[in-house]
């Protein structure tokens, strides 16, 4: 109990507010000084920090400048810019189980651990020469990188980033280890991924770190990315080299890998694809999965009980991301160049496009707030992150950012495959 007099308590509080203001100003400049109510403390090494609840935080990649923005989403705002993080074109982020750390995978192969409490880089390792993303094991102990060069996956201790295991990928036609795409965490210390150059879908089990086990199956031509369903059961790898999707059911591993939606292009000449769709975070909304047709300006709708096609939605261009609002009632889609100025909304009940709008130039990514009341959209060439109210479809905030690409909120830590 506080035994101080009310006056003393008030004085203490004023002092705290003043200190907090000072620190906030120091850290973030006057634009965010209004948030002076945040608690101030000292971190383990004695530095003054303004700690924020990490469940409200996220990371926005600034791809061209090697920087990231730490952001908060309850009141959309930028907290801090971290710079000097290398080549972040196509960078992606996963979070530690406790949502304290962001793991950033750079195109240059660097893995950076960002402490969201102290808002500083904790550790950085050069783990490959070309990396594309990663995933965290379901027990939170391992962070695994998927690499293009040298092709393979590497497992690190999630706390220290010490390398604990390394699995080179099977070679492709050129004899080099294949580029790894679509890494996703499965239940247990297991991961699924696909090999672009070796036409394979692989499963690696890190339960025994001294002797990880890997099984690969032929998947189809040129898998370009993969996703796991929200319950960590179904793993799908999109194929570039043929019409179809490689499919694996982790509840029945003995059934192996087979193809679904084979021949979805109906023999028509595919349209050119100026950017590969990204499957991570693609929409599984209730019983329906929304998947990209490669070389078609269509979203394929699949019944997840039968994995048969039940519909197609004609859209503005080659879909890149199609993300279900967390309540599953809408799917928001963005597109490849040259149609990358558009975002469309598909209604889950009617499978009709209900909204088409242009948030800015070169829309690269969409990220919903945890329960989907708002969505953040990065518009690279407009140097802005645009926040929409998903109920009214109106813009509620526009945050300045240098060529923003990926947007990642910490709640992903609790989801399979994100």
């Amino acid at each position: 109990m506080d035994r101080r007099t009310p006056e003393a308590g008030l004085f203490q509080r004023m002092k705290r507010v003043a200190l907090c203001l000072q620190v906030t100003l120091l850290f973030f400049g006057s634009a965010v000084a209004a948030h002076a109510h945040e608690p101030v403390g000292h971190d383990a090494v004695g530095a003054t920090v303004s700690a924020l609840p990490t469940g409200d935080l996220g990371v926005v990649i600034e791809r061209a400048t090697g920087s990231v923005l730490l952001v908060a989403h309850s009141q959309p705002r930028i907290i801090k810019r971290l710079e000097g993080l290398g080549d972040l074109s196509h960078a992606s982020v996963v979070f530690s189980r406790d949502q304290r750390y962001a793991y950033l995978f750079g195109r240059d192969g660097a893995l950076t651990q960002i402490d969201l409490l102290t808002q500083q880089v904790k550790k950085r390792v050069a783990q490959a020469t070309n990396s594309i993303g990663g995933a965290v094991s379901s027990d939170g102990k391992l962070v695994v990188a998927q690499n293009y060069a040298p092709g393979g996956i590497k497992a690190f201790d999630a706390g220290t980033l010490a390398l604990v295991a390394e699995i080179p990928a099977l070679p492709g036609a050129n004899g080099q280890p294949s580029k790894v795409v679509g890494l996703a965490d499965l239940p247990g210390r297991r991961f699924a991924y696909a090999l672009f150059d070796a036409n394979a879908l692989c499963l690696t089990d890190f339960s025994n770190l001294a002797q990880p086990e890997t099984q690969c199956h032929l998947a189809g031509k040129q898998p370009y990315d993969g996703l796991v369903s929200n319950d960590g059961r179904f793993y799908l790898a999109g194929l570039f080299g043929e019409d179809g999707i490689a499919f694996y059911d982790d509840l029945y591993p003995e059934r192996g890998v087979h193809k679904i939606l084979a021949g979805y292009g109906r023999g028509e000449q595919p349209l050119p694809v100026y950017k590969m769709p990204h499957l991570r975070g693609w929409a599984i909304a209730g019983d329906l999965a929304f998947l990209p047709a490669i070389g078609r300006h269509e979203v394929l709708v699949v019944d997840t009980r039968t994995w048969q096609e039940v519909g197609r939605v004609a859209v503005k261009g080659q879909p890149v991301f199609a993300v279900a609002r967390p309540d599953g009632r809408e799917v928001w889609v963005n597109f490849a160049f040259p149609d990358n100025g558009w975002v469309q909304v598909i209604d889950r009940k009617t499978l009709a496009v209900t909204h088409t709008f242009s948030p800015g130039a070169a829309v690269l990514h969409l990220e919903f707030t945890p329960k989907g009341d708002q969505v953040w959209v990065s518009a690279r060439d407009s140097n802005a992150v645009v926040v929409y109210d998903t109920a009214t479809k109106t813009e509620v905030a526009r945050l300045p950012a240098h060529a923003p690409s990926g947007i990642f909120f910490t709640y992903r830590a609790a989801l399979f495959g994100r």
């Binding site: 074109s89 196509h90 570039f240 490849a336």
Partner: protein, 122 residues
Amino acid sequence: MVTKQSNLAIVHFAALAIALLALPIANAGAGDVISPAPTFERQRAIVHLVRQDCGACHGMTLQGGLGPPLTPEALAEKPEEGLVATIRQGRPGTPMPPFAPFLSEDEARWIVERLKQGFSSE
């Protein structure tokens, strides 16, 4: 002594500049078409396209991604005409799409020439 050397350098530089300036004219005399360089504005748009949109597969720094690297070393052995054709028509059997709808022959050649020298970042 010092003055003499720098004079010599200036003469060398001037000769080089004249030779370089004369080069396209000499080529034109040999019957080639001079590919006009894109306007400054257009050059900036093309550089942006290469860095950002080609960069989607080849990496923004062109060090390679799902697509191969487009660095001077990686392209050194590849004939210019083949590269121009790849940009314009794509490469069947690979994800490389045709950029003919967005880039003229001259613009594709301008990109190839720059890629072989080391591509501008502006």
